[in-house]
């Protein structure tokens, strides 16, 4: 094994981790506020992918192939689309169950997840759809030299976005009025409503924000893997969920840390034992961490969740 291989493996591990982190942030935020695991988050991520590719098609018909302009706009469309789906999910499937037994919204979430998957399967595409490479070529084919290894612009973008979003969320939650409302809602919904915090709107905002982030992750992932498919949300969602637990669910920097550890574990496992062992090692790491720190690496923030 050469140094080049090792560095490349580490780079790939980090960008894979950043990919998981983008999805994990949404999981962890909803959990932080509601104490509920939104299993449909992976599907929102998948819907973001499809919305982006359709928007790209429409834009190129409308005013031609301006790669970066169209890509940025399509990403915005994807975010709006996913946010709408996320909001609808909250209204239809979760709001009425907020006071029900903890298993009710969980089951509802799994139902929504399956529903959305097969809705897309039946109405949009049964096969995988290719991301139009015209738009991603610039990002995937240009490299930065990092010692003996190459980093693509896309990998840099993914990592940069993850860190920016993490910082933004951290700021939003800890230093803004909306953040105060979020934290208050997380602590006690009844109390929050008594002091004049619009609890319903605050929770809806959480879903909208989380879903828009999932759309960003979806667009990045479809460029990174070149294809989008109706069940893409399942596997990435599972890994992101694991990452959120690993870092301490409800904890924003924790989700990113957990995702990075997951991505690096997978990459190093591939190097050392072969990728067939990926699930064994990642879930092994998860169990080990939970045995030593049952609330995850950075701890589930029970006092002021989110």
């Amino acid at each position: 094994m050469t140094a080049q291989t090792l560095i490349e493996i580490l780079i790939n591990g980090i960008s894979r981790g950043a990919m998981y982190a983008l999805v994990a942030l949404g999981y962890t935020m909803v959990y932080g506020v509601l104490g509920m695991i939104n299993f449909a988050h992976g599907e929102i991520f998948m819907i973001g992918m499809f919305a982006c590719v359709y928007a790209l098609g429409v834009f190129s018909l409308m005013w031609g192939d301006h790669a970066m302009v169209n890509l940025t706009l399509a990403m915005v469309v994807a975010m709006v689309f996913s946010a709408a789906y996320g909001y609808a999910n909250e209204r239809i499937a979760y709001r009425r169950l907020r006071k029900a037994h903890v298993l009710a919204p969980l089951t509802s979430a799994i139902g929504i997840s399956t529903f959305l998957q097969y809705f897309i399967f039946l109405t949009v595409s049964k096969d995988s759809v290719n991301f139009p490479r015209y738009y991603s070529d610039w990002l995937t084919n240009n490299h930065l030299r990092l010692g003996p290894a190459d980093v693509t612009y896309l990998q840099v973008t993914i990592l940069g976005l993850t860190l920016v979003i993490m910082g933004g969320l951290y700021y939003l939650i800890n230093h803004t009025r909306m953040g105060i409302a979020l934290r208050a809602t997380a602590q006690d919904q009844l109390m929050a409503s008594l002091v004049g915090i619009p609890v319903n709107r605050t929770i809806a905002f959480t879903f909208i924000l989380g879903s828009a982030l999932a759309a960003i992750a979806g667009v990045m992932f479809s460029m990174y893997s070149n294809v989008l498919v109706f069940d893409a949300g399942y596997r990435v969602g599972l890994k992101a969920f694991t990452a959120a637990i690993l870092g301490g669910i409800g904890n924003i920097p924790g989700a990113v840390l957990g995702a990075m550890i997951l991505g690096l574990t997978e990459a190093l496992t591939t190097l050392q034992f072969g990728s067939e062992w990926n699930d064994v090692t990642t879930f092994g790491v998860l169990m080990l961490v939970l045995l030593l720190r049952p609330r995850g690496l950075l701890g589930e923030r029970v006092a002021d969740k989110v």
């Binding site: 291989t5 995988s128 990728s275 067939e276």
Partner: protein, 374 residues
């Protein structure tokens, strides 16, 4: 009021006669069509089933089988072994005379045990894992080749035709993908070549960059993928994005237009093993036209196998004069059959006596048989 009661009694009368008929003998012959229709193999699996449906239409138009209409029972196993077992149980429960399916080897093998116990003939149009017919089940057949033939063809192509000595292999950890990858590895090493990487990856993973870093550092001269096109397409693209322009060789699981759409119609150095090209055979034209008319979509790679499997099965049942598995199976093993893919014969295990695998490549936006090197 009187009219109503008259109508009612008429209705009851027809229902009664209907029941009587049903009790006498079933008016149709049920044939199970099982395979993946959802999931990432849904499209290729569905085209296999659609191929069989074309054959069923033709037989029904000719007057059916043993004088009865054929009733297809279509069930989806989602390419998942557990679901395949459930599908098999419900097909057996509803009294099918025979089963055409499944598609994925990982599904066909566990299901075949149930069909065997229930004495039902099973003919798979697409499962290539050797184990399927090696279980010693007398009523199990397949109308495609085996991976221990296919893998050798891939290895010979790499070693003898491309003259390469170092290859990297990745598979999707399914019965089919991993089975084939192992055959390629063994055959390639037997020829004196070296396998510098041999790994598996979850079939739903779409990020292969960590594996590709290892390939890059290993000095592999070619890359072999044992698995389906849903992962094979993005894998091939990522291989090129990583700057590796070595030959990408895959199997019949990548024999699909969707694979070409992903890798791009102008992709170079991409090879896929499969049976002979049938698109230009005169015998295939009526089928291709009928498929187009019925489904109005391009026929998948396995539709013709689904069609042939159905025709062989129905011919055997017609010749045997019964749906009894023992007799149908004896007919199938006892005589040659004419199919679109030529005259075929089954051996004692239920495999084809001759399965010709050839190498295809991407050319002019399509997969085409590779012209033999001059």
């Amino acid at each position: 009021m009187r009219k109503l009661s008259l109508l009612l009694s008429l209705a009851v009368a027809t229902m009664l006669t209907g029941c009587q008929k049903a009790q006498e003998a079933p008016a149709t012959i049920k044939i199970g069509l099982a395979g993946a229709q959802t999931g990432s193999d849904g499209q290729i699996g569905l085209s296999m089933i659609n191929g069989s449906l074309v054959a069923i239409d033709e037989w029904n138009a000719k007057g059916g089988l043993l004088g009865k209409q054929i009733e297809p029972m279509i069930l989806d196993d989602g390419a998942q072994p557990q679901q395949a077992v459930t599908v098999a149980q419900s097909l057996i429960g509803s009294g099918v005379a025979a089963v055409i399916g499944h598609f994925n080897s990982g599904c066909t093998i566990p299901a075949s045990r149930l069909y065997n116990d229930a004495k039902i003939v099973e003919i798979s149009p697409g499962s290539t894992n050797p184990l399927y017919t090696e279980q010693g089940f007398p009523y199990a057949f397949r109308i495609c080749g085996r991976d221990d033939q296919q893998g050798v063809v891939i290895a010979s192509f790499l070693h003898d035709q491309l003259k390469l000595n170092k290859i990297a292999i990745l598979d999707d950890k399914t019965t089919y993908g991993e089975g084939l990858a192992k055959v390629v590895k063994k055959a390639f090493e037997d020829k004196g070549g070296t396998v510098v990487m041999f790994q598996g990856i979850d079939k739903n993973d779409r990020d292969f960059r960590a594996n590709l870093s290892i390939v890059q550092g290993s000095g592999a001269e070619a890359f072999v993928w044992g698995g389906m096109y849903a992962a094979g397409g993005p894998l091939c693209v990522q291989l090129r994005q990583a700057g590796l322009n070595i030959p990408f060789v895959s199997d019949d699981g990548c024999q699909d237009q969707a694979f070409v759409d992903t890798v791009g119609g102008t992709a170079q150095n991409v090879f896929v093993s499969f049976g002979k090209d049938y698109h230009n055979l005169p015998a295939a034209q009526p089928f291709l036209a009928a498929y187009q008319k019925k489904f109005n979509q391009p026929e998948g790679a396995y539709s013709v196998y689904g069609y042939d499997a159905a025709n062989v099965l129905f011919t055997a049942i017609q010749t045997a004069g019964t749906t009894d598995a023992e007799k149908v199976s004896a007919v199938m093993k006892g005589q040659p059959f004419d199919t679109i893919l030529g005259k075929i014969e089954f051996d004692a295990k239920g495999d084809l006596k001759q399965a010709g695998y050839v190498i295809w490549t991407v050319k002019d936006g399509k997969l085409q048989e590779l012209a033999p090197t001059p």
